[in-house]
Subunit: 343 residues, 2 copies
């Protein structure tokens, strides 16, 4: 099936299906990592036709989403003399997608790229929205650009080689979409286990459509799109405190959602039963939902490193029941501290 994304700046299709043939009359660079290429590169290359195809394999993992790796990709492109009609293909998870998209956005002031996400998280999340970027010593995704892909190919087949924890991280993102935007989708998730390809494809479709709607009304994250950061305000601090090594991004967001829910319950936006229902769904996929906070004040102060903070106000994205969301920067510090003490 095909989901069309129409934005003020551009329009492109997301194909959720067996990988189709890709024919390009230009040079192509496939950006991937050893894990993905080990499993799936021959399959991709069998589907790909272009004037010239080369592959650059970069180290696997969030800790390599750096300026150094970005320059490795760009240098490969310069060495292969890519021009403005050339195309990059992001073949991997969110890290590969973010870096490839950013490289494409700044190579000769912008060339096209195609996303072929291979993890559940990147299929439902990173493949829609055009956010690209890298981390640096100050935090995550602090350098980057908005750059939309030319097309996205989502083949659930790639998930067959995905480690269980990474699958769970993707499910956390799917649950996030449902809690924020669709009570009906949340009900569907309570009834349909993501343990078979049919349900997985359906859940990807629902997530992508939901995110596509959100992004189409707010490409540059001025308003509604900020709702997608439900769980991220807390999650980023958790990732930061654990040096981006203990939890996968989706896992940290999962814990962050549980924290945001506690805050939402505290100020009366969410009932305790609703919060429990969300936590139970996360637990059923063995997604981590607990985190031991060593120092509550330190944790709180780390919010200010987050790029979503505006001067001295912290923006919280809190569920307003299930299927709606409230974005607020008017939460009392004492309420937050009390919630954090519960962890």
């Amino acid at each position: 099936m095909t989901v069309n994304i129409t934005l003020p700046s551009t329009s492109y299709d997301i194909y959720i299906d067996k990988l189709k043939n890709i024919k390009l009359k230009s040079k192509v660079v496939v950006v991937t990592n050893p894990t993905v290429s080990g499993f799936h590169l021959p399959y991709l290359l069998s589907k790909l036709e272009a004037n010239e195809v080369s592959v650059v394999s970069v180290p696997d993992g969030e800790e390599y989403k750096t300026m150094e790796t970005l320059e490795m990709i760009l240098d490969h492109c310069f060495t292969h003399k890519l021009n403005r009609s050339s195309v990059l293909i992001a073949f991997g998870g969110g890290v590969i997608g973010d870096m490839t998209g950013f490289a494409a956005s700044i190579y000769q002031r912008g060339i096209d790229f195609i996303q072929i996400p291979t993890t559940l998280l990147s299929q439902v999340d990173a493949s829609v929205g055009g956010k690209t970027g890298i981390n640096n010593k100050f935090g995550k995704n602090l350098i980057g650009a908005f750059h939309q892909p030319r097309e996205v190919n989502i083949d659930p087949y790639f998930l067959t080689t995905l480690p269980k924890r990474e699958f769970g991280a993707g499910v956390a993102e799917i649950i996030k979409m449902a809690v924020c935007f669709s009570g009906e989708f949340f009900e569907w998730l309570l009834l349909n286990r993501l343990d078979n390809e049919k349900n997985i494809a359906k859940a990807i479709e629902k997530s992508v459509k939901t995110k596509a709607y959100v992004v189409s009304v707010d490409e540059k994250e001025q308003g509604l799109r900020a709702a997608l950061n439900y769980g991220h305000t807390f999650g980023h601090v958790i990732e930061n405190e654990t040096n981006y090594s203990k939890y996968l991004h989706g896992e940290a967001v999962g814990i962050g959602m549980v924290m945001a829910n506690s805050l939402a319950v505290k100020i009366g936006l969410l009932s305790e039963l609703q919060a429990k229902s969300i936590k139970d769904l996360l637990d059923s996929y063995e997604i981590p939902t607990t985190y031991k906070i060593d120092n509550v004040e330190d944790f709180y102060n780390h919010f200010f490193l987050d790029k979503k903070s505006l001067d001295d106000k912290i923006k919280f994205i809190l569920p307003l029941g299930i299927g709606d969301v409230k974005i607020t920067d008017e939460i009392k510090k004492s309420d937050v501290i009390e919630v954090l003490k519960g962890f």
Copy 2:
């Protein structure tokens, strides 16, 4: 006077006048270099009001338009905790403008910047069009983005401290605009010497308006805008061969125009008298118009390093009389070689 630039993506004003007061309700970082700040920083600061103002001074010169300097600017922004409402001010010539604009375009996926160009070249050229970027070992401006400024303030007063050679480089750019797009402007330049503030302001206005028109019909350089690269195909090779150290960018473009003119004469697009009239005007401002080519084949091969080349075709921008331009990638190598032999 004010020139409005309206693009599909945005709209902004260019003020050509004494520097006006700038009031911003956000953090501001002024990016400048020791030369400009030595002469003019107190003047700028006296006009600037913001929540917090800090200054980052980076080394002066094209050879510092690098990833390292870019990271120096970005690090300053992170250290000062700029957020998405913060504003960068580019206070210097084209190098400062290109790097500041690029830093603004990738800092937290894009923040605003204001241009206050202090050289004639950057006032007439770099301040319009939104091209930002840096150089690397593969060539000039190969990494960058299109990012439009929030506003541009052009104060001819800054030119009082500009070295004579740099002034000439700016005049070369003005002559380029006239030759490409306006026979009337070229006639005006033959009649009005740029040796007083009134004429200089008028020439800046005419150049900016011309470039604004070109950019407004072709923001992302798909067509007409390529005409602005008249002189650049040759000029880039000259800069590359001389390690970006012997000639200023505008000087190299000046020589490149003379080379392009010879080619245009050879294939019948320009008369010898027209070519002479352009060269005489350049000479009258002591802008270099000659260059000794050591090895004609080497020079030719260097065209292919240029990012404007598409695969094996070289794009030439040649004057079609004075006031019009022809963009072509169908020039015979033998014609180019013969022209190069004349240098």
